[in-house]
Subunit: 241 residues, 2 copies
C-alpha cells in the first residue's frame, strides 16, 4: 500500500492548496494535511527554509511530499499526481494539454488574488483599496470574460462533459474551484457572466456531485471561503461595469 501523501499548506484558507486537496479527495487517496495537525506549522516553516528537503526546496506552499520527494507549485503537483490518481489521460500530448489548462487557470487565480492586493501581498487590503477598485473593475470587465470564455470554448470544442478527453481530470476539478471562488468573491459580476458560460456552470455542478468530492465538500475538511484567502468577497470590488 502507498504511504499517505503529505499535503503542506496554510491551515486557515482554501488557497492554492485546495486545487491539490480536491484531486486527493476526489480520488480517495490517503493523505495527511500536515499543517492542520499539531506541530504541523512549525514543521512547514522549517521545510520552507529547506531543512530536510533534498533538492530544490519550496518557494511557497502548497507542496506535496511523496516519500522522500518534495514537489512544489500547484500545477506541478497536479501534473505529478494526475497519472497516479487516474485524473489525467495517460498520453504525453494530453498530459501537456492538461498542464496547459491548469497553468492558465493558475494565471487566473493570480489575477483574482491581485484584485484585492494589487500593490503588495505584505500590506493590508485597506491600504490599497483605491488601486484594488481599479484593478477589480478591469478584472470583471475584461479578464473574467476572457478566461472563462476560453474555458467555455475548450469545453464546447472537446464535445464531452469534460475539459479534456472523455473522463474527469484534475482540470475539471480546478475549473469547479475557480468558478466556486469567483462566485463567492464576485456574486454580482458572476451572475451576469453566467449567461455566457452555460457549459462551464453545468460542469461545476456535475463536479460538485461526484461521490467522494460531494462527501468532502460537505465535510469540515472543506474550509469555507473567507477574507484571508485568494477569493475574497468585498462588496465594493464586485461592481460590474
Amino acid at each position: 500500500m502507498h504511504k499517505p501523501y503529505e499535503l503542506w499548506y496554510w491551515p486557515g484558507i482554501q488557497g492554492r492548496g485546495e486545487f491539490v486537496r480536491l484531486a486527493l479527495e476526489d480520488a480517495g487517496a490517503p493523505y495527511v494535511d500536515v499543517a492542520r495537525t499539531p506541530g504541523g506549522m512549525p514543521a512547514m516553516m522549517r521545510m520552507l527554509r529547506g531543512e530536510g528537503v533534498k533538492g530544490p526546496y519550496p518557494f511557497a506552499p502548497p507542496f506535496l511530499k511523496d516519500g522522500p520527494l518534495v514537489i512544489a507549485q500547484t500545477a506541478n503537483i497536479l501534473a505529478y499526481l494526475g497519472p497516479r490518481l487516474n485524473l489525467v489521460p495517460r498520453d504525453e500530448a494530453r498530459r501537456a494539454a492538461a498542464l496547459q489548462i491548469q497553468l492558465t487557470i493558475a494565471d487566473l487565480v493570480a489575477e483574482a488574488h491581485d484584485t484585492h492586493h494589487p500593490i503588495a501581498s505584505s500590506q493590508y487590503y485597506e491600504d490599497q483599496k483605491a488601486a484594488a477598485k481599479k484593478r477589480s473593475a478591469v478584472f470583471l470587465k475584461e479578464r473574467i470574460p476572457k478566461f472563462l470564455g476560453w474555458l467555455e470554448r475548450i469545453l464546447e470544442r472537446n464535445g464531452t462533459h469534460h475539459l479534456l478527453g472523455r473522463s474527469a481530470s484534475y482540470v475539471d476539478l480546478s475549473a469547479f474551484q475557480i468558478l466556486s471562488g469567483l462566485q463567492y468573491a464576485f456574486p454580482r459580476a458572476m451572475a451576469r457572466t453566467g449567461r455566457r458560460i452555460p457549459r462551464l456552470l453545468a460542469l461545476r455542478d456535475r463536479v460538485a456531485k461526484r461521490g467522494k468530492l460531494a462527501a468532502y465538500l460537505a465535510s469540515d475538511r472543506r474550509l469555507p471561503f473567507n477574507e484571508e484567502g485568494i477569493f475574497r468577497h468585498y462588496a465594493e470590488l464586485d461592481v460590474p461595469a
Copy 2:
C-alpha cells in the same frame, strides 16, 4: 530528421517567448519563429482563435508547434522540450524539480510585468504610474530579494555550477534571462542586490558564454529589451529603498 519546431510569439519583444527561444538556440534545434515571418502574425491570430488547433488552443502566446501538437504556457513548453533538447535530467523527480523552479521563475516574471502595469495590461503605463511606483517599491524591497535569494540558495545547495543536477538545464537558461531582464529594468536596485547573489551572477555569466547561446545573443535574432516587453526600464520605478 525532426521537422523544425515552430515557436509562435509576438514578434517585437523578447517577452515570455524568449525563455523558449533560449532553449531552442542553446540546443541548436531547428526552429521557425513563425510570427516574425511574412504572414506569420495573421496566422498566429487565427491559432489564438483555435483555428486549425486540435485540443485546447492557446490562451496566449508563446506556444510551440511540434508536428500536429500545439503546446502553450511557457513552463509547459519547456517541460516538453527539456528531454528532447537534452536540457533537463531524465528522471521524473528532477524533471518535476525543474518545472518547480521554472514555475517559480514564471511567478517572478509575472510580478516583474505588474510593476509597470499593476492595474491593467490593457491600459497605458502613464495612466497607472502612481500605482506602478508603489508596486515597484515593494517589488524591489521585498520580492526581488526573496526570489533571487531563493535561487541563490538552490544553486548553493546543489553544489555544482548548475541549478539542477550536474549539467545545464533549461532553468539555468531561464535564470540567465530573468537576471538580464531585471538588470535592464532596474539597474540601480540590481547593483545593490548583486552583492547578495554572487553565485547567480556567475551562473548568468557562464550561460552567456555557452557556444551556441553566445552566438545567438550576438545575432539579430536576439531582440534588445525595450519598453514594450515584460522587463521595462523606467528610471522612476528603479528606486531602491
